[in-house]
Every structure is written in C-alpha cells, then in structure tokens.
Subunit: 484 residues, 2 copies
C-alpha cells in the first residue's frame, strides 16, 4: 500500500432485496493527518467494496459498518511512500500534482473506448502507453452517435436495450424524446459494466493518465439521459463511491450539457452538489459545453472545460476566460484532426497541432482527438492513432515542461513565472527574421520547429540582434535569460 494508491476492502453482506438501494456500507479511515469517511458500493454476488485513497504515509486504521451487515469491521494497514505524483490539483491558473510536480495537461478524447471489446480496449491502452497524452476524456454511459451506433459490449443496468437493427434511423434528439423499446431497472446496476470501467481507469492510472470521466451526456437511445431524479442520484452515489478513490479521476459532469434536454441548470447544480458531497478527495470537476459555456464561476467548478469550434474557434478568448474565471482553462475540444464529414472532426494534423500550440501560448491547456473514417475511430472507440498531430504531442509537452508554467504576455508570446524564459509561437505567421533588443542582458535563443520537432540552439546574444527565421509555418522561438 502506497500513498495515493487505492486500498480496496471486500466484505460479504446482504444480497436479498436490492442491495444497490436497500443497504449501505461506510468506512472511516484514520491516518496521520487525515480522517475520511467514505461510502462503499455493492458489486454483485453479495460482495460489498470500500475503496480508499490514503494521502499520507504511515499507519492507518479503519472501521467499516452499515446496513449491509450485522457486523462491524476494523483493521489497520501501513502506507508506504508514494510511487506516483498523486492527484492533480489547481494552482492558480495552472495545475500541480499533490507532490508539487507541475502537471501540463495535454488531453485526448475517446468517448466510448471503455465500451469496446477487450481487444480494442487493450489496443487503446497500448496506444496511450506509447503516447504522451496525460489526460483522456471518456463517457460512463454508452453513446448513440454518428459512427457509433453499435451496442456496447454490455450495459450499465439490468434490463434489455432497444432493438439495434435500425437504430441509426433516429438521431439522439429524437431518441431523447422517445426511448420506448428499452427496459431497464435503474435501481440495479450491471456490475460487469462497472468492473470494465474499473479496469479502464486503473490501466490509465498505471500509465499516469488522468481519467476525465463524463458523468452525463445526451447521445442516448436507451433512456439513460432522461432517468428520473432518484435514478440520477443513485447513479452518482454509485460512481463516486466506485471511482472516487482512483487518484487519476476527474469528474466531467456532462459533455455538451446544453444539449441535455432533460436537465436544467438547477439540475446540474444539484447533481454537482451530490458529486462533491460524495468526494472526500476533491477531484477536479467541471462541465463541458456545446455552444454556451457553463458559468465557471460556480464554486464547485475547479477549472474551465471548454469546447470552441465554430469558425476561427475563438481561442483568442482564452485570455478573457482566464481573467474572468481565474481558474485553469482546458480547451477540451477545438475540433479534431480527421477526415469525417462533420467540420468538428476534419481539420488537418497541422491545424490540430497549431491549435494546441496556440492554446499553450495563450496560457491554457489543449485537447486533441482524431476522426479518421474507419471501423474504429479514435475519438469514439479508441484503438490506434493514424493521424499526424498525436506525433507532435510529446515534443509539445517537453517544451511545456522545460518552460514551466506559461503566462500570456502579448500576441503570440508567453513567459514563465519569473519572466526569464519567453516563448513565442508564430503559427500561421512566417517572419523571416526577428529583432531582439536585449540591451545589457544575455539570452540564449532557440529556434523551434514545432511540426518537424527540432530545437536549434543559436547561441547567447545581447544588445540588439537580428535573428534569421526559417520563414515557414509552425515555428516557435524561445529565449532564456542567462545570468552570470
């Protein structure tokens, strides 16, 4: 057992009636510097689980009780020092791990990777292992959407789904209104479905990748998007109990909340309360939009999760958002690389990369995905990456890490905390030179080709100097102050 790993305890208890609703299991964990009370969950076959993430080294004792059993349980365990950085936290307009290591978020999206067969899921993990993405957005509920009409391998509840022989007959809006043909018991979870999600989240955790879990979305032919309030509450209680002890979890309360016709702002605020009340670790939490940004000033929201795609995709509003909300800004969607028909999924690899770099220069954090027409499409199913922009992510992350947290200074230029490092990204601009006025100070200058991923050190300069630039797109330049 190590700090920020997950301790899981299994108990047997009552399995009569409906254990998902009829019984509860609680655990109180006490260690050096913390005591936390967590809710456990029923995992089928008479098994109840309590999960806990310790945040400190040393001895922990626990007490487990609840209506699930006549007995109470106590015990202790020892927590060794961490083998990870811990949870990601906000730090002003940036992110830091629990252990103080900076976290520079570059995320991708595979909405229903955890709903695919084992082989595809394994392929997704293998792909992520060889990538430098450190965040991935995906859904809990299955998705009815373009290119993704097939049934998931199983469903979140006991029951039977609508017949899928003609299911792309209607779009999700129409199914939102009429989901007859489905027969679910929203009070009985299919634990097999959630075990798959467990394994997915755990695999990601072991790769050091944040799991930005989407709790609700509207792309639904099964009725999951319009369950009665009691079912939504039961669901949220279940997933927070089940997944909350994984250090790498972020809560994305919704994907395109503004398209969820059966939930109002009041509902979102209410469900956010449930999630945060049941989360003793205070995972990062936000809510993603289609058109209208959520009010990110709400106290429960830790960071802005933003989609912006239309037209020139408005990345230049990042400065406004940073100032307005004073929270980290994650552009989770800015169109995806690909070749599908929909404009949000068919920009070039160069354009995807340009938008990611631009986001970083503006002081925010980018989101990626790909939509190349195939049986499996990364953005939806995961699997393999076949585009160009993903290859540029490791290099971008490396530059971000070298620079440290970036603060936008002027158009195309950002600087680090103490101003000793400046980074300018030209994007679609291609000056053939740049004049520096360093006066008496000395700077080491590097020319960065963000597409071909090269860094050229052109030495230390002071006074007024004219630097020749390659006069091609996607060039950046970095200059670092040299102190004697």
């Amino acid at each position: 057992m190590k700090v920020w790993n997950m301790a899981e305890f299994e108990f047997f208890g009552y399995s009569t009636g409906n254990p998902f609703t009829d019984y509860k299991i609680y655990g109180e964990f006490t260690g050096r510097n913390e005591t936390k009370t967590v809710l456990g969950f029923y995992d089928g076959d008479g098994v109840y689980r309590i999960r806990f993430m310790p945040s400190f080294e040393g001895e922990y004792t626990y007490r487990v009780w609840g209506s699930f059993s006549d007995k109470e349980y106590t015990g202790s365990f020892f927590v060794d020092k961490a083998e990870s950085h811990g949870m990601v936290r906000t730090d002003g307009r940036h992110f830091t791990y629990d252990d103080g290591t900076p976290y520079y978020s570059i995320g991708t999206t595979c909405y229903v990777w955890a709903n695919q067969n084992e082989e595809t899921q394994a392929q997704t993990i293998e792909t992520l292992k060889n990538s430098s993405f450190n965040k991935i957005r995906f859904c809990i509920f299955p998705k009815h959407y373009d290119y993704n009409y097939r049934d998931p391998i199983c469903f979140p509840y006991k029951g039977t789904p609508i017949d899928n022989s003609d299911i792309n007959k209607y779009n999700f809006y129409e199914y939102n209104e009429n989901s007859s043909g489905n027969s679910w018991d929203f009070s009985m979870f299919n634990t097999e479905y959630f075990k798959l999600l467990d394994r997915g989240i755990e695999s990601l955790m072991n790769l050091g990748i944040e799991a930005d879990i989407i709790l609700f979305h509207p792309y639904d032919r099964w009725g999951f998007s319009k369950m009665p309030a009691w079912a939504n509450e039961l669901y949220l209680e279940y997933v927070t109990a089940r997944f909350g002890a994984y250090r790498n979890v972020w809560w994305s309360l919704a994907n395109e909340y503004d398209l969820c016709r059966h939930k109002t702002i009041e509902d979102w605020e209410y469900y956010a309360k449930i999630v945060t009340k049941n989360d003793p670790y205070h995972h990062l939490i936000s809510i993603h939009n289609c058109v209208k940004l959520y009010d990110f000033s709400k106290p429960w929201i830790t960071h802005c999760s933003i989609q912006r795609q239309i037209g020139e995709n408005e990345l230049d509003n990042i400065g406004n958002w940073l100032d307005k909300y004073n929270k980290p800004v994650v552009i989770d969607e800015m169109c995806y690389e690909g070749n599908i028909e929909q404009y949000w999924g068919n920009i070039s690899g160069e354009e995807m990369t340009r938008r990611m770099w631009k986001t970083v220069i503006l002081g925010a954090y980018p989101g990626h995905s790909e939509c190349y027409l195939n049986d499996d499409i990364w953005w939806s199913h995961g699997g393999k990456l076949c585009g160009e922009s993903h290859k540029r992510v490791d290099f971008l992350h490396k530059i971000m890490t070298e620079c440290g947290r970036l603060h936008p200074k002027e158009y195309t230029i950002a600087e680090n905390d103490d101003g000793s490092v400046k980074l300018q990204y030209f994007g679609e601009h291609r000056p053939c030179y740049k004049i520096f006025n360093f006066e008496n100070e000395k700077y080491r200058i590097e020319i960065i080709d963000t597409w071909n991923m090269t860094v050229e050190d052109i030495g230390v300069h002071s006074g007024t100097v004219t630097i020749t630039l390659p006069s091609c797109e996607y060039v950046a330049i970095r200059w670092k102050k040299i102190c004697d």
Copy 2:
C-alpha cells in the same frame, strides 16, 4: 467622349497671388437626364482645369465661370455610349456597376505606389494588368513607416521636407508630435505631385481597377497629418475637384483613423461632409480602422472598410457586421502574405488565400497584399508580386462571377440570390466525403481545389448521394440545381 469617361477642359486664368486659394473655377454641365455643377482646380502655370464625368449619352452643354477669369465659357460636346461599366455602386450588401454588371471586389494594397519613381510605377501597372485585382488601396500623402522611410519622388506642397538622413530614428507617433524641420506652404499644392496621381488613377481606370484613395493617414514625418483645419479643407476641396471625375475612384477617408491623433470623430464627420458635398457623383466612401471600427451606420458611409488581424482575425464577425450595418463589407486588411517581422504581414500564401475564400463565403469582399522583404515591397511600393496568393485571385474571381452574389447560409456554406447555386468552402477542414440529400431535385456537383485552381465536374445527382472528397485542405464544393 464616352459615358463614364472623363471630359477635361483647360482654361487660362489669373496666376497672380495664390491661385490655389484666391480664385475659383466652376462648371455646369447639362445633358440628357442630368445637370451637374462641379468645382475645378488650378494646375499651375496659369492653367485651370474642369473635369466632368458624363453619365448619359447624347448632347451636353457646359458653362464655365468663376473668379479665375473675367470671361465665361460655354460649349457643347457629344457623349457616345460607354466603353466601360461605369462607377461601382452599392446594391444592398453587394456592389454593382452603373450598367448593372455585378462587381465582385478583390482588392490589393500598395500604399505609396504612386510615390515611387516612374520605372517602379510602370512595373506596378504592368503587374496589375496581369492580375485579377479590381481594386487597389493607396495613399495620397507620402508615408513614413517601416520599410518606407525614403522620400517620395516629390511632395504634395511647395516647400522643403525634413532632412531624411536619420529619419527612421523616430516612429510616426513621435513625428506626429514634433515635425520640426519641415517647411511647407499648405496653401500651395505642388501640381507635379498631383499630376503623378492623375496618371496613376487614369492607368488604373484603363485597367478597370478601382482606385480606393486614402485621403488621410497618420504615418507622417512631414506634418501633413496635423495640418490646420483650413489646410485640410483646402486639400479635400482640391482632391475632390481633381480626382472626382475619374469613375474608378473610391474615397477612403482615412487609413487607421483611430491612430490619427490630430483628428477627432467630429473632425472625421466634418471632413466627410466636405468630401461628399464636393462629390456630385457619389463615389463609394468609407473609413478604415486600426483597432476600433468606425460607426459604419453613419449615412455618408456606403460600405464597411474593415481591418481585422489579431489572433483568429475574427472573420466570423462578418455576419454580425452585415446584419448590423446592412451595407457591403470589405475586409480591406486581414493580414498580408509575406515574411516581414510584423505579424500583420507574414502569413503564408495558403493562409492569405484561405482568408480570402472564407471572406467570400461569409458574404463579404476580401483585401490582399504581400510583404516580402526586399528593396520594394508590394504592400508599400508596388512593383512585382512574388508570393503565392495573388496567383489564386483570378480563379476566386471567376468562381465568384459564376456563382453570382453570395449570401451566407450556414457555417462554410453560401448560396446565390435564388438559392439555385450553393458553394461550400472547407478551408482547413478536410472531410473525405459529403452526403447530400437532394430528394427529387437534381444538382450538378463540382469539386473545387481552390489552391491548385481546378474544377472537377462530377456529374448530376439526385436523391441521397455520398460524394468522395479529396481530404486535403482548401477544397470547395459547388452544387447547382438543374431544372428540366
């Protein structure tokens, strides 16, 4: 003499004192359907000129009088039918020539081409002759600006300019405050300077290119940007009398009006009144911005002349501007192709072309220029074009002409007046297919490569059809309804 050509009449008159201020010459021209009274101007050496543009065929009589002479003059002339389309007029949110021919504006900018030596000016005309630009923006006053510090070949007034041996020591803002070293008589025009402009405007007219003349700008070390009001009035009276009879003239009251520190909004309104009062032909007139758009709802303004460059360059506001002002929108500046240091002059040819196409799809009219580092830079001096985007202008104009006036319908799609032709420009998006639902109607579909300038006719289709697209950037698709 033909309709919309210029009739010029020369008279001798008083040359004592200062003929520019002391004497006036008027002409009244009467023909079928019109009578116009115009102001003439002094052209040095005792010569006074009256210029008049007839708008109708047939017999005209004229009467010339004024303090310039004791004598009055009368005469007549016959006007044949037009050999041109006439003046450009607004037509809702678009442009039409006097004869009803549509005018699809694609402009370029060569700010001080008319201030260069004869050889360079001739080169500029030759370049324009071989291009498809049908509008060019340029200044009357000389310009003190990056890459353009050398003296013009002559000056607009009698007098002597500041010594130019160290003139890029200060930027134009500083010279705006202190232009000592200059010695001008703002009451005495140097007619040689204006003769050069005459020849320039006339050459453009003969090429069918609109001369979008910039009347004031702030890039000045000579004091022309801060003349007293009487001098500005005299100047405007002079240039409207001198240039107003050229059919191809547009008045651009200012370039970057918001950087002109010595003129207020009240001043602009006042000077606009002078121009329009002295313009019996009602040339198109607007005023160009640096940051803040002028209030284009002012009645004297015929069309929006807009600069937008920062960041994603906000072309998506075009729809808002069209709706707000209900006048044609000309994006006269959206960054220029090039490789100079300044971000506004170093985008790629692909990006310049993309912005021009995007502007057109959004229902507006684009402006181009190039800034490649050289002794002569097109955007400033004219001369030769050496970039890539200019080569795509003829093709763009051809497509615009074929489609007819375009009205934006949805993101990336525009249609013609009756909706029978639709044009979709994908820009940085590269779908590998597009699905059409034509139902019972028939459409001819063409795939357009806007960069390689090809049009591929892929036949007539009806019902639901999936069209394969090249899955590369800068593709457009056009579909035209076929009626049996």
